[in-house]
C-alpha cells in the first residue's frame, strides 16, 4: 500500500463522535451560574471533611441520605435544594450559603436603630456587628418597654 493510500485509509477511518461533548459544553454554559455555586459548595464540603477527618459515608449517615447522593454533591454537579444545603450546614457545622443584606436595607436599618439609640442613650456605632447587636437589644421585649417608657 502506498503512503497516499495509507493516508486516505486513515482519514476515512475517522468516525463521528456521539456529540456528547458539545451537549455537555452547552449544558455547562447555560447552567454556569448555579453550577459554579454548586462547585464552590462542593469544594467547601470536601475541605471540611478533610479538616474533620470525616468520610463521605459518615456524612451520608449523618444526613440520612445515600452515599451515592453525597458522592453526587461533592462532584459539584448537583442543583442543591435549600433543604439539602441546610442539612449539610447542620451536620458539618459550617455556613455554606449566605444571603448578603442589601445595602439599601442596611441603610434603612441603620437609620432606624440610630434614631432609637439617640432617643435612648448615646452609643457609638462602629461596625455592622455593633449595629446588629444594638438592633437586637432594642427589639427585645424588655428593651421595648424601656424604649416605650
Amino acid at each position: 500500500m502506498t503512503n497516499k493510500e495509507k493516508r486516505e485509509q486513515f482519514l476515512n477511518s475517522i468516525e463521528d463522535d456521539n456529540g456528547s461533548w458539545l451537549k455537555k459544553a452547552r449544558y455547562r454554559k447555560e447552567n454556569r451560574a448555579w453550577l459554579r455555586k454548586s462547585q464552590r459548595i462542593a469544594v467547601r464540603i470536601l475541605s471540611v471533611l478533610k479538616e474533620k477527618g470525616m468520610q463521605q459515608k459518615e456524612l451520608a449517615e449523618a444526613m440520612d441520605v445515600s452515599p451515592q447522593q453525597v458522592s453526587k454533591i461533592v462532584k459539584g454537579k448537583q442543583n442543591l435544594t435549600l433543604e439539602t444545603i441546610s442539612k449539610l450546614e447542620v451536620v458539618l457545622g459550617v455556613k455554606l450559603f449566605e444571603i448578603p443584606v442589601p445595602q439599601f436595607e442596611m441603610e434603612v436599618e441603620r437609620k432606624k436603630v440610630q434614631t432609637n439609640i439617640s432617643k435612648k442613650k448615646s452609643i457609638a456605632v462602629k461596625t455592622n456587628k455593633d449595629l446588629s447587636d444594638m438592633y437586637m437589644q432594642l427589639w427585645t421585649p424588655s428593651d421595648n418597654k424601656e424604649v416605650a417608657a
Binding site: 495509507k6 459544553a25 469544594v43
Partner: protein, 175 residues
C-alpha cells in the same frame, strides 16, 4: 488507535477515543476539569507544586480557567469564523519551525493558566487532541501525569507516520 470527530461533520477538531472511558479524550478531559472531587484529589496529591494557593483556591481557579477554555472550543463548534489556529500555540516556546505534525497545546484564558490541552496538528487544519493536564511544573518531564501526556503526543506522531504521513517540516517565515 481510534480517532473521532468531536463535532459531527467537522474535520478540524479530532480526538483520540478513550476505549476504557467510552468517550473521546477531549470530552473526558472536560469532564475531569469540571468535577470538584477529581480536582480536589489532584491538588491534594500535588500540594507541594502549588505556590501561594490553597487547595480550595486551586480548584476554584481551575474551574474558572476550564470554563474559559471550554468556551473557546464551544465558539469553534458554534461559529465557523473562529479558527482553532487562534487557540493552539506551538508546544515549545523556543520553536521556530512548525512541523507538519506540530505538537500543539491550547491555553486557557491567559498565558499563566495551568490548564493544557495537547494536540497534534495534521495538515493545515486538523487538530487531533491527545489529552490534557494541569501543568504545575516548568517542564512536562517533571511529573508523571504530564510525562504521560508527552508520551501520548509522541505515540500519536509515530502512529501518523505509520499511516503514511511524512515527518517533513514546514518552514515558518519571520517578519
Amino acid at each position: 488507535m481510534k480517532i473521532v470527530r468531536i463535532i459531527k461533520g467537522v474535520d478540524s477538531l479530532l480526538s483520540i477515543f478513550n476505549e476504557d472511558e467510552g468517550q473521546s479524550e477531549f470530552e473526558h478531559l472536560f469532564d475531569k476539569l469540571t468535577n470538584t472531587e477529581t480536582l480536589f484529589s489532584f491538588f491534594e496529591t500535588h500540594l507541594h507544586d502549588l505556590q501561594n494557593y490553597t487547595i480550595d483556591e486551586a480548584v476554584n481557579r481551575t474551574f474558572d480557567d476550564a470554563c474559559a477554555l471550554e468556551d473557546k472550543f464551544y465558539d469553534v463548534a458554534e461559529n465557523d469564523n473562529v479558527q482553532l489556529q487562534t487557540i493552539f500555540k506551538p508546544l515549545s516556546n523556543s520553536q521556530y519551525r512548525l512541523s507538519k505534525y506540530q505538537r500543539s497545546k491550547a491555553y486557557g484564558e491567559v498565558r499563566r493558566s495551568w490548564l493544557r490541552v495537547y494536540a497534534v496538528r495534521l495538515e493545515s487544519d486538523k487538530y487531533i487532541v491527545t489529552g490534557g493536564a494541569i501543568k504545575l511544573t516548568q517542564t512536562m518531564q517533571e511529573r508523571p501525569h504530564t510525562q504521560e501526556q508527552l508520551d501520548r503526543l509522541t505515540q500519536m506522531r509515530d502512529y501518523l507516520i505509520e499511516n503514511g504521513f511524512e515527518d517533513s517540516d514546514i518552514e515558518i517565515l519571520e517578519v
